[in-house]
């Protein structure tokens, strides 16, 4: 019991936000921007990522409270801080972590019709960890305070809503410049889930109100279910296998498999106006192996012991009745989870035109023609409850031909002062990028509600371009 409570508290203390990659999106100097829009207007002969170092990204943060609020070394009793956090948050506050590491990645340009290089293929594999939990407000109040001071309150068991998943994704994408104005892209994905735990469709309630029959009317209606795959056997005390080996095999399609796709486009209504849109991770995973579902389902109205004086032991066994009414069942039913789908869109205005003398100037890629751009982006992601949204405005500037910068200002439900900065440099063919947001929070990271960064190393070969 205590372990469980600690686990919940720990999970809640490491919270984060979304998978919004507002700095990477449409930052086409970085090939990984293809992962946020397969129709991004990139330009390379071929590239490959340095294995394990090409794309490292993490999102950490919290809504409603920060690590400082809970763990500050300030002499205040931990339980006092925990109460303060609990009562200052709502059931809509959430905790999420997203981490991705590219195992390998690469891409090359291919010849299309009329012998023109107008198509690109990109491929790769990455590992991803996702965690999302909403604040289990009502159950936490019950655990902290009990029900004595909450006569008449209906505790909502639907507040329990969390999921965690580790998976690998193998993907291949194709994108094509249909004409000077339009680029379309598509990416197919195979997911291999290493483990999954999800409990996102819970409902139920607990209430205590005054009654005439006995002192209280007390009802528990519980419809709780936790689905897991790839976990159950490690829970078994007799397990003596090799976890690392298992993970390796599951990462390479030995896990529960799923399919998904990304699609996107870039369109130039005018030479200096660019519109993009993408949808990423429309897909599902079918959990059929090593599946275990735990359920607490049932209804119980607790009136108390009722001696009927008709003989001995007439009132039955109330506690046993309760345990029978809402039993803990373990099932092995296959289930399907949907990946969190992400929608991105942007509109960009470019200025400070520069025309290199030998530029063929037929393509619309703004990076080759304009030094600066301003734009706005919209991000929407599906979650077990209401979709998550973020709005970003940005400024992009080519500082030198080998150094590009993107600065962002993002508003979402967690923060309205999220300033981010991304830099991408090219040392000959070596591309190094680092993107970080919530820069203001670096003044004291322990008080940050959210932090995210992406960095990586690629080798990119482009057609020769004149330096300026």
């Amino acid at each position: 019991m205590r372990k469980l409570i600690l686990l919940v508290v720990l999970l809640l203390s490491v919270k984060s936000i979304s998978q919004n990659k507002q700095l990477l999106y449409n930052f086409t100097a970085v090939p990984q921007s293809l992962m946020t829009n397969p129709g991004a207007d990139v330009n390379y002969k071929f590239y490959f990522g340095i294995p394990l170092l090409s794309g490292i990204s993490a999102n950490v943060g919290s809504s409603g409270f920060s690590a400082y609020d809970l763990f500050a070394d300030n002499g205040v009793d931990f339980n006092v801080k925990l109460r303060d956090v609990l009562f200052s948050t709502t059931r809509r506050d959430k905790a999420a972590i997203n981490e991705q590491i590219e195992l390998f990645t690469g891409g090359f340009r291919i010849k299309g019709e009329q012998n023109q290089y107008n198509s690109y293929v990109s491929f790769g594999m990455y590992q991803e960890f996702d965690f999302l939990s909403y604040m289990p407000k009502d159950p936490a109040i019950l655990a902290l305070d009990g029900n004595r001071d909450y006569l008449g309150k209906v505790f909502d068991l639907g507040d329990l809503n969390a999921k965690a998943e580790m998976l690998t994704v193998l993907h291949i994408g194709y994108h094509k410049n249909i004409n000077e104005r339009l680029t379309l892209g598509f990416r197919g994905k195979i997911y291999s889930s290493i483990f999954n735990a999800s409990s996102t469709k819970n409902s139920g309630y607990i209430y205590t109100i005054p009654s005439n029959v006995n002192i209280y009317e007390q009802v528990i209606y519980s419809n709780l279910q936790l689905n897991t795959s790839g976990i159950a056997k490690y829970d078994d005390e007799d397990y003596n296998g090799d976890v690392a080996k298992d993970i390796k095999s599951k990462a390479l399609f030995g896990g529960n498999l799923g399919l998904g796709f990304d699609a996107g486009l870039t369109y130039y209504p005018k030479k200096n106006i660019q519109f993009t849109a993408s949808i990423v991770d429309v897909g599902f995973i079918k959990h059929t192996k090593e599946v275990e579902n735990l359920t607490y389902k049932g209804y119980y109205r607790h009136d108390g012991i009722n001696p009927k004086f008709t003989g001995t032991n007439s009132a039955g066994n109330i506690y046993q009745e309760f345990k029978d009414a809402i039993p803990l069942d373990t099932l092995h039913t296959k289930y399907t989870t949907w990946r969190p789908a992400k929608f991105n869109s942007s509109i960009q205005y470019s200025f400070e035109e520069e025309r290199p003398t030998d530029c063929n100037c037929t393509d619309y890629n703004p990076e080759t023609m304009y030094k600066s751009a301003v734009g706005a982006q919209l991000f929407v992601m599906t979650t077990p409850r209401a979709p998550l949204m973020a709005f970003t405005t940005y400024y992009r500037r080519k500082i030198f031909s080998a150094l590009q910068m993107k600065a962002t200002y993002t508003i979402d439900s967690y923060s309205f002062k999220n300033i981010g900065l991304g830099l991408s440099s090219n040392f000959g063919p070596v591309n190094f990028y680092v993107l970080a947001d919530n820069l203001l929070e670096y003044r004291d990271v322990s008080k940050a509600n959210s932090l995210s960064f992406q960095l990586g190393l690629n080798i990119i070969f482009k057609d020769k371009q004149p330096s300026n």
Binding site: M1, I5, Y68, A72, N79, G146, L151, I305, F309, N317
Partner: protein
């Protein structure tokens, strides 16, 4: 030369970011201090016995007994975490006879551990609630944690004769306030 320049700028920018970042002291070991002290209220027992239960074929039956199983307090969770339990009782008698109610807590061998006794006066036309709160703490609480059965002995005392058409009933309502500490 230019490249060197760019990377100097990049380096300085990164250095600036990380050197200006800092963190207040955090102590994650505080999680070990976690101490939950919830207080739960719940029903314990109730009955509503009509007067005719004390008369069978015109003959008064003065003692009725029941011994239901009550094994919630000796569940491992409660034996480990229950630090105090207040048992509250309320008896409402509308029968024109006085009663005694004895609630005997018994262990798994049916041995009596503790007894709670009530004297209930006869009904004389106005509501007369008999209430009692028994607080179980320390050694007394251990008795409650060994309880697996409660015997309810309801005894009618002598008074004006009753028949099967007499009116009234004797009602019990009771609840428990459980103080837990989980750490």
């Amino acid at each position: 030369m230019k490249l060197l320049h760019f990377h100097r700028i990049l380096g300085i920018l990164l250095l600036t970011l990380f050197s200006f970042s800092c963190s207040s002291d955090l102590d994650f070991n505080q999680a070990n201090d976690l101490k939950l002290e919830p207080v739960f209220i719940s029903n314990l027992a109730y009955f509503d016995v009509p007067v005719n239960r004390f008369v069978t074929n015109g003959v008064e039956q003065s003692v009725i007994v029941d011994s239901p199983t009550v094994d919630v307090f000796n569940d491992a969770f409660f034996t480990n975490h229950l630090t105090r339990a207040d048992l509250f009782f309320e008896i409402d008698n509308t029968i024109n006879r006085a009663y005694t109610l004895d609630i005997v807590l018994r262990d798994i061998n049916n041995q009596p551990l503790y007894s709670i006794n009530f004297n209930v006066p006869a009904y004389i036309g106005t509501e007369n609630l008999v209430t009692k709160t028994e607080i179980f703490e320390n050694a007394k609480l251990d008795l409650l944690k060994r309880t697996t059965r409660m015997t309810f002995v309801l005894q009618m005392l002598s008074g004006p004769p009753l028949n099967e058409n007499s009116l009234g009933n004797i009602k019990l309502r009771s609840g428990v306030t459980a103080y837990l500490i989980v750490q």
